[in-house]
């Protein structure tokens, strides 16, 4: 006979995020549910095949309706669905479901409820001010703030700001405002000669040159429903 050795572990416990169908019911009318389920699944009879399914009760949580979970389990079985539990619902619903051998799933968290409390409003950061020419190959990034440039921005230079960009000189390079997706960011330029303008990732290049009516003009650039608007003064 062999001696006793330390047994190999017979199982391992792991967490898994498995995909799961949830059937949200709006009332407890068994006849209606039965009829509509049959018509809905008539086109694709094999859509469910021994597929675990959860019954969503969020919509009826505040009502007094009662469910016959045993009958529902049988009904859904016929369509290949294996009812394994309920999600949400009232305390009575949940008690009845446990009685019928179903498990309980917590209600999906509401989208709008903030997970973290609002942080105390931060002091706005002062803008990044550049008073020397920004030259080819140079890149200036104003993180979490506005960028103010008082000297020329040459072709091949790049301005990036999470806030607005102001250039009180000719802008001949690239300017990207709202770099982290702030769609209300704007670009203000004293003389528009840019290679590229972008707000919140919505950009415009000027391969054919800048349109006559805004070229070398003071302009502001803003986003109007995903469309870049260049407005001259």
């Amino acid at each position: 006979m062999t001696t006793m050795t330390l047994a190999e572990p017979a199982f391992k416990i792991k967490i898994a995020n498995l995909p799961l169908w949830v059937i949200h019911v709006h009332n407890n009318n068994m006849a209606q549910i039965k009829r509509q389920l049959a018509s809905r699944l008539s086109q694709t009879p094999d859509f469910f095949s021994h597929t675990p399914v959860v019954l969503g009760l969020s919509a009826v949580a505040n009502s007094q309706t009662k469910f016959d979970f045993t009958a529902l389990t049988t009904l859904m079985w016929e369509h290949g669905m294996r009812l394994i539990g309920v999600q949400g619902g009232s305390t009575e619903h949940q008690a009845a479901a446990t009685q019928a051998g179903l498990s309980l799933f917590p209600d999906a968290p509401l989208r709008n409820s903030p997970v973290f409390p609002d942080p105390t409003p931060a002091q706005p950061l002062p803008p990044l001010v550049i008073d020397k020419p920004v030259r080819a190959g140079q890149k200036i990034y104003a993180e979490n703030t506005d960028l103010v440039v008082l000297a020329i921005v040459n072709a091949g230079a790049e301005l990036i700001a999470d806030g607005d960009i102001h250039v009180y000189a000719p802008l001949r390079g690239r300017a990207m405002a709202g770099a982290q997706g702030n769609q209300s960011a704007r670009i203000f330029v004293q003389s528009l000669e840019a290679e590229l303008l972008s707000i919140a990732g919505c950009f415009q290049m000027f391969e054919e040159g800048i349109p006559q009516d805004v070229r070398n003009h003071p302009v502001q650039v803003y986003l109007d429903e995903a469309r870049l608007v260049i407005q001259s003064y």
Partner: protein
């Protein structure tokens, strides 16, 4: 206090070495003790343009490596009393230069020279970086064409960010724009950029305009810098030197229109 001047451009073939040769000769002709250093290790040219290629025994790398003293490596110019040349190495590569070695050489040269001219190689790699790192002034040599202006802009940006003065937060390198190979008539015909266009793009003070001329090629091939001959280019470089040492000299060779009287009595 001696001054270190880098002659740079970013782009190759615009006239850095020609400018280094003429500018240093011009300073020496004015009685200033001047040394010109070729930083283009591996592609040395300055010795050819200065006509001293047969007298190069030791070069800057030998001095950095301690294989020769500065005194042994400095070559006295044959045309100017006060000018010396420190040649680049032909046989080593650019990695042989290092900041400590360059600084040591420059500090030693500061003791006996008024002006130290550093002829930068093209590009933005280590050779160009070494040449500009310790500079007090920069002559930015630019041709009247967009690619040259773009590269000058790039090198100006690098100097503003990475030079020793910038790193230590001292007053920035004094920048001077030198436009070379300028042809006023072709600029007028919009075949090349105008002086104003280049000034508008680079926004640094203009120190001179060197006209496009056959005499530069001739001077390079003969090993005697153009400033020693009689030509527009020689006059233009002399003007640059005068402006650099603080004399007010009107800008010449920027206009293509030469009037009848002007032709008769010459350009004053």
């Amino acid at each position: 206090m001696s001054k270190i001047i880098v002659v740079t451009s970013g782009k190759g073939g615009v006239g850095k070495t020609t400018t280094s040769a003429n500018f240093s000769s011009g300073l020496a002709l004015r009685g200033q003790k001047t040394v010109v250093i070729d930083f283009d290790v591996g592609l040395r040219n300055l010795d050819l343009i200065m006509g001293c290629e047969r007298r190069v025994v030791y070069d800057i790398i030998d001095v950095i490596n301690g294989e020769a003293t500065l005194h042994q490596a400095l070559i006295k110019d044959k045309n100017c009393e006060h000018l010396y040349i420190l040649a680049a190495s032909q046989t080593r590569d650019k990695d042989a230069l290092n900041l400590e070695g360059v600084e040591r050489i420059l500090n030693e040269l500061r003791e006996s020279f008024d002006y130290i001219i550093c002829d930068s190689p093209a590009g933005i790699e280590s050779g160009a970086f070494m040449a500009m790192y310790f500079a007090d002034h920069a002559l930015v040599v630019t041709n009247p064409e967009v690619s040259s202006v773009r590269d000058s802009d790039r090198i100006l940006g690098i100097m503003a960010a990475k030079s020793k003065r910038a790193v230590e937060g001292r007053a920035p390198i004094e920048e001077h724009l030198l436009i070379t190979r300028y042809n006023p008539k072709r600029a007028e015909a919009e075949e090349m950029l105008k002086v104003e266009d280049i000034e508008d793009m680079l926004r640094i003070p203009l120190i001179g305009v060197i006209p496009e001329s056959e005499s530069v090629l001739f001077a390079s091939n003969s090993g005697i810098p153009a400033i020693h001959q009689k030509s527009d280019v020689a006059e233009a470089y002399k003007d640059v030197v005068s402006r650099f040492i603080g004399e007010a000299v009107p800008m010449r060779f920027v206009s293509g229109k030469v009037g009848f009287l002007k032709r008769l009595f010459g350009d004053r």
